[in-house]
Assembly symmetry: C2
Homo-oligomer: 223 residues x 2
DNA sequence: CGCCTATTTGAGCGTCGTCAATCCAGGTGG
DNA sequence: CCACCTGGATTGACGACGCTCAAATAGGCG
């Protein structure tokens, strides 16, 4: 009993569990496995059979595909509250991407059966999960649009603007190499694009730290 | 009664309705609106508020975003059985893309309320819908990978290989301009890439008609 | 059958990728 | 707590792939 309450404690703060009843949360918490990952640890690898559905409770994960010459292309960064591995629903499926922890992670692991039962018992959870995946599709659309119509400098400016800001300060949460890959750029091009923005007096960069001097001008670069 | 049976008749053949009980199908069919589109007609436009969820029963639709200078970027081609407009689940959302019929279409229109009720009453339908969206995410991943690591000629070769073949014949279902855009290419580049494959003796192209002379070699171009 | 639009072809250019060397930061151990 | 050290980041030079602009051709629909 106490254990159930303890387990469900951290869950309701995430949007994916919003509106899901206490009973269903307790049930979910009791059947789901917990898994922890250290920084750099691999959750699953491309071509392995898909066995489970995941909800990231804590930490950050990158989904990547190999890109020849030992390089990798970053498809997506996953944040707390993200649900993934939904391809567990596709018959006989194998991972198309590799998932690796960028920071220490805690996640909820649901087997296909558990997911099906959860959807059956809690329509609210079903809708939240669908909404979560839908949100990812929307984000993919925005990114496709961006990489289709914007230059390297514009995409970098856009990325900087999207980072959480404290005052006029922000930081790169991930390695620049990984961010570059996500934006569809080489590390060198990413670096040069940043330098361009610095030269134009819009930002200052020191390591992972960014200071935004002229947000309006930065925004106008994007458009 | 007869009407219900009539309406549900065409539904079960689509994967998204597989396993959904007769009763639920009849209910769906009774609450959902039907909509038809002529060739070229617009279903919804970017920036309009999202009001409904759609299931394409018949025909083909393209999702596009404006790409400056009156150009457009094709994000996705939708085929019969595809569910879309799932962003109806995201609060206060507006369409990020425009949907336009490439062929005469028939579709099922579900309000947010109807979708919620359907998910509640038929967990199977909920799972099928989730699987459908998941499939689209998977496809997006494959496309991101492709545009990240393959050249123009390789992407065109890949596209040709994915077309439904009758013997060694295939056709371009959509305008080459639209296909080019979907592949992230200019029409000129698409044309030249096709020509390259023709010159290499791998295929022949006459209008929308394609003859594949050496499928193995075509496949090896992609890798 | 003729118009209108899609597609093809040509020429030239620009952005971004590649390769290689140097610089720097952040993490580690003393 | 500070200096080392290693891998990431930056910078430079160069080249190529795909884009742009423009014109000709082909194809489809009324």
């Amino acid at each position: 009993m106490d254990m159930l309450f303890e387990n469900t404690e951290a869950l309701p703060s995430l949007p994916i569990f919003e509106g899901v009843s206490r009973v269903h949360l307790a049930w979910l918490s009791s059947v789901a496995t917990r898994q922890s990952l250290r920084r750099g640890e691999t959750l699953f690898e491309r071509d392995q059979p898909v066995q489970a559905f995941y909800i990231l409770l804590n930490g950050h994960i990158k989904l990547t595909v190999p890109a020849g010459q030992g390089q990798e292309k970053v498809l997506e960064f996953l944040k707390p509250g993200d649900a993934f591995g939904e391809s567990v629903l596709l018959p006989n499926h194998r991972w198309i991407a590799t998932a690796q922890a960028l920071f220490p992670c805690k996640l909820l692991v649901l087997s296909l059966g558990d997911l099906a039962t959860a959807v059956e018992r809690s329509p609210t959870f079903a809708l939240r999960t669908l909404a979560n995946v839908s949100q990812r599709v929307e984000t993919h659309f925005q990114e496709m649009e961006s990489s289709a119509i914007r230059s390297a400098v514009q995409r970098v400016a856009e990325y900087v603007l999207r980072q959480p800001k404290v005052g006029n300060q922000a930081r790169f949460l991930y390695h620049k190499r990984a961010i570059a890959s996500k934006l569809g750029l080489q590390p060198e091009t990413f670096s040069r694009s940043l330098k361009q923005l610095v030269t134009d007096g819009l930002i200052t960069v020191q390591g992972a730290r960014i200071v935004i001097h002229d947000e309006a001008a930065l925004q106008s670069v994007v458009n």
